[in-house]
């Protein structure tokens, strides 16, 4: 039955993630962490990190990773198929309509409306990850001394580098990974 649950969860992720890139992230977090508890928030953050450093769309990466953690290789295949079946059906229908009528204005209108929502949802999942990085798995606290200073500095330095020089995220991951390894090994 676990395969059916994997399939249905990733079917929903495939069906509702609109807007590409990180748009799938809030849905994956909701299904995997909040609803089914298949990964902790920390494991989910690791997954996003790994997805950032490996080729392929984040939703497919997540499906393969979580599928295998929960149900072995068959689990990865089932989750990945669940994730692409909505695309296959919907894109083919739109392709059929497009090659017949060549009119896109309504579709792009709906997409226009979705964009602010997608940005907000990515922001929401991002704040969860930020909270994890700063305060660990205990979650947000108002006590400033609970903040992980190393994480705060790494975060600010990374954000500054990204905004100022527009470097590829891969270098940020490699940099923070390397510096993090050095510092955390020394202080812990």
């Amino acid at each position: 039955m676990i395969y059916l649950r994997l399939f249905i969860s990733f079917l929903q992720i495939g069906l509702f993630s609109i807007g590409g890139g990180y748009a799938a992230m809030p849905l994956i977090k909701e299904q995997i962490v909040d609803i089914n508890g298949w990964l902790t928030l920390k494991e989910f953050t690791d997954l996003v990190t790994i997805a950032e450093m490996t080729p392929g769309p984040i939703a497919i990466n997540a499906a393969s990773f979580v599928g295998n953690q929960i149900g072995g290789i068959l689990g990865s295949v089932v989750a990945t198929l669940g994730c692409v079946i909505p695309s296959y059906v919907i894109v083919l229908s739109l392709a059929w309509i497009y090659f017949r009528y060549k009119n896109l204005s309504f579709i792009s209108g709906v997409l226009e409306g979705l964009r602010p929502a997608v940005v907000a949802l990515i922001g929401s999942a991002g704040v969860s990850i930020l909270t994890l990085a700063f305060w660990g798995e205990n979650g947000f606290s108002l006590n400033l001394s609970d903040i992980n200073i190393v994480a705060l500095i790494l975060f600010l330095a990374s954000l500054f580098t990204l905004r100022k020089w527009k470097v590829s995220p891969i270098y940020i991951m490699l940099g923070t990974g390397f510096v993090g390894m050095l510092i955390y090994m020394i202080i812990e």
């Binding site: 080729p55 990945t80 955390y184």
Partner: protein
């Protein structure tokens, strides 16, 4: 039309088309880091410039459909290309070409993950990367929300704040929020088009 002629004329030519569809999407997917926004320009180069299968403008429309549909943009764009070149079977082939590399790589990583994250060095590295990935996502959100705020459309800005509060503080289901926003977006388009129609009359 072109696709029917090529696949019916002779099987070997059909097979070689299928093989090119599979191998091109497989290679693009295996060596592209960073998802849809990176892979789509590369696909454009491959199919418009290198293989000359698709006209530039048609490719842009196909990408627009890929971006407006649910799911991963890279997969959607591959489906469009496959369908255009070889119908439903072609789309199936390009879908598999695109999902196989991440499927294989992440399944392998997943096998090693438990041991990996228990390792002190890797654990410390992943902890450092948490701050990095948080910065990457905040950077993406700053860029995207900046684009929306610059357009100065109140309804978009309101919707953005509303959805953030609903998702983060009220834990409202993400799918419901997407459906709600899509319907609202559609209604706004219909309303605006009506307004334009009246104005032009």
């Amino acid at each position: 039309m072109n696709k029917n002629m090529t696949s019916k004329k002779n099987t070997s030519k059909g097979l070689s088309l299928y093989w090119t569809l599979f191998s091109s999407t497989f290679v693009l997917s295996a060596f592209t880091f960073g998802g849809g926004f990176v892979i789509v320009p590369l696909m454009k180069k491959k199919y418009v410039k290198d293989l000359k299968w698709i006209e530039e403008e048609e490719m842009l429309n196909m990408i627009a459909i890929a971006q407006s549909s649910p799911g991963a943009i890279a997969v959607n764009a591959a489906i469009m290309v496959g369908y255009k070149m070889a119908g439903i079977l072609g789309a199936l082939i390009t879908t598999f070409g695109t999902i196989l590399p991440p499927l294989i790589i992440l399944t392998v990583i997943s096998f090693f993950y438990q041991g990996f994250s228990d390792n002190r060095y890797i654990g410390a590295m992943l902890k450092g990367m948490q701050a990095g990935i948080a910065a990457v996502i905040v950077d993406v959100v700053i860029g995207l929300s900046g684009d929306i705020i610059k357009k100065k459309q109140l309804i978009s800005i309101f919707l953005m704040i509303f959805v953030f509060v609903s998702a983060f503080f009220l834990n409202i289901n993400v799918g419901i929020l997407i459906l709600f926003s899509g319907i609202l977006g559609g209604l706004v388009v219909i309303y605006r088009n009506k307004g334009k129609g009246r104005a032009s009359k």
